[in-house]
Amino acid sequence: MGSVEFSLSRMIKEGFPGMEKNIERQTLLLRLDGDLDMKTAETLRQAIDNEIERRKVRTVILNLEKVQFIDSSGLGVILGRYKKLVPLGGKIKITNVPAHVFKIMELSGLPKIIDFYQTEAAAREEGRGAQ
């Protein structure tokens, strides 16, 4: 099988304050900063959905290192992306989660369906480094 290289890597900053977006091949990496709550959840949802539609992104990695708080709206966005990606053969990965945010996510059962990683590098490596 021939190898095909895609060089679509780039880093941009958009309307979501404190969100870094990086797309490499079909993988979208988002570094979030601040609270993931009702105020920011919609922006995050649009950002991910656009990349799924336009660039056929199938893997979304969320780096939550700088997220201080997540509420039900934030959890809803993550669960919604999971629900959208799985039928397309994609998946969502979460990295660098602060302990108190992980506690909230754990109560909502996210670790049961979504893989959590210590670092971005671990998340990029399929099936390795899961907590």
């Binding site: 099988m1 021939g2 095909v4 290289e5 895609f6 091949r25 079909q26 709550d37 009702m38 056929k56 199938r58 201080q68 708080f69 509420d71 039900s72 709206s73 959890l75 809803g76 966005v77 669960l79 919604g80 999971y82 629900k83 039928p87 397309l88 053969g89 602060p98 302990a99 108190h100 506690k103 754990e106 109560l107 909502s108 059962g109 996210l110 670790p111 049961k112 369906i113």
Partner: protein, 696 residues
Amino acid sequence: MADWATLKIEQSVRKQRVSFQTLALSLFLGVVLARGAVLNIYPFGLALGAALILKGGKGAALGLLGIIAGTLTLHDLPLALEITIVLVLLSLLAPLIRRGRHAPVFQSLTVTALTCLVFALALLRNGADPTAFFSVGVQGVLAGGFSIIYGYALNQEEALWRGEFNREQGMAWLLLLIGAISGLQGLKIAAIDFPVVVLSFFVLFAAGRFGAGTASGVGALLGFLPELNFHVQNLMDAGIFGLAGFCTGAFQRFGKLGIGLAFSAVTLSLTVFLRQEAVYSQLVSSGLGLLLFLLWPEAAPRKDFLKPKPIPEVEATVSKVKVLADIFDQIALSYQAAEAETTTLRPEIPELMNVLVERVCQNCPTIATCWEREFYKTYRYLFDLFSLVETHGKVRVQDLPVEWKRQCGRLKEMLLGIQFIMEQEKNQEAWRRRLAANQEAIARQFQSVSHVIGNLAKELNARHNRQDVKPSNLARRRRHFLDVGVGSFSKSGSGINGDNYASLAFSPSRHAFVICDGMGVGQNAAKMSAMALTLLEQLMNTGFDPVEAVQALNSMLVLRSPEESFVTVDLAILALETDELTFIKAGAVASYIAGPEGIEAFSAGGLPAGILDQIEVPVLETVFKPSQVLVMVSDGIPDAVRDGGDWLKDFLEREQAAGSQELADKIVQEVRRLSGGEIQDDGVVLVVRKNFWNEG
């Protein structure tokens, strides 16, 4: 089957025994009732004769013979003749009387008329005075009236042998007994006074079976009525036996021996004080009555086959309901099978390749070369192309190997065609997955419905067999039994609380408290949580197991609102008859149990309801004692402080509140204080205690 076989054997044995007893009883009653008199008239023999004639059967002839024999013992031949004539006439008219719809009424009227006629004719022949005609009229009326009562008593003969009477049976047999005792008046052999023997026996019998009240009444009636006069002696007898019955009945719980001792003591003392002249005879006769009572067998314990059994209609209904449950199970299995079939129907690469060849290669001039001479080579290239597009999605022609470009002159069209087919296939795959998920959800719901119907069948059967009768007023008592406090608040600037709660008395022995938190805040969250709460309440009240109810709720919410909104469900189920407490948490935050032994938090990582097609619902089981307090909250309460700590646990450790409502209010006050007046989320708190001391 064994029950029914035993019943059949016992019934046949009983039939033989009853047959002999019936003959003996008929003869005995005939003799004694024929002798019975009230105010010097003899209605009892006539009444019994009429009842026996109308009833018919083996005992009738013997009973009639007994009546004639009893009448003869009175040494009054004209009376015996008159009674015999009346009975003969009645026997002749019996077929006509039996034919009518109101046979007992006709019987009574006929007996009255014939008695009056025959006795009046006899009086006319003897030239008696007019007052005698009045006595004849009274005799006729009494004979007619008693014939109905005696007829009823004879038809209920089984009650006599069983020793168990309902009110009507008891009264009928009591009146028959009064006539019998009346007939025994004056019958005395040596020191044995037969009326006293019989009277004593029946007073003891009533005391043993029915207690003080009934025995007292029976004693007074049997003591007074047989002679039906107001002589001092008669009234004294009524008093003695009435009081003896009352005192004896008070010893019912001590069994036959206790009753016997009490009866002996009472009759001895009363006779000594009131009837000193007949002490010996009275004591001998009472003693004989007591001996008969002691020898009389106890009431046979009820056998299993006498218990109420499901009547055929109920059994048929239960059977039909079970079949219905099986049907729903089958439907669920069909859906599961259909789901499996859907997953196996995915087209393979060669099938997709055929579609591509039809579209692109059909008009290509080299089709014969590619697909005939170089089939395997072309097939491999095309297969690799499919694999590449499947793996990488968008692929450009310039990225493809050179030999591929040489192989196919329409590579660009081929690539576009593959990408189009793969995209289409992915969409179809997404729909197939969704269809499979929905089919699975529907299958689960059918299974749950099947369980509910199965439980209904069990409940129907159990209720009919009276195996599981719960007090109906339990639900009413719960407001005294449970001390519940509620507190709530909305996000600053929002007038509507998106969190909802409920207290559900869904089972006679279990009570549920629920908090539902809709995603987000405000009106949409409130609508979502209210809908979830209503559905959950309906499901649980219908008989769904709480875990199945939450799973069914999830399926319903997914089907109703495919967009990404969800509801957290926090369910606490209290067993009211034990200390068991079960938490079911779907995306809900921790609950707390506070008590003298400290605070314990209960949390479980369950996914919320309404977003994924299938969720596993975690269940936590613990003990909840009356000395403890259950605190359930929505996420707005722990999230009032966003430092990752558990402020609520610390608060509960230091806070002492007298009542549930007071504690709920204090928690809400603390949230407001910690939020500095700017509340970030909606919140609900439920505080529950068990109040055993208030029960009742």
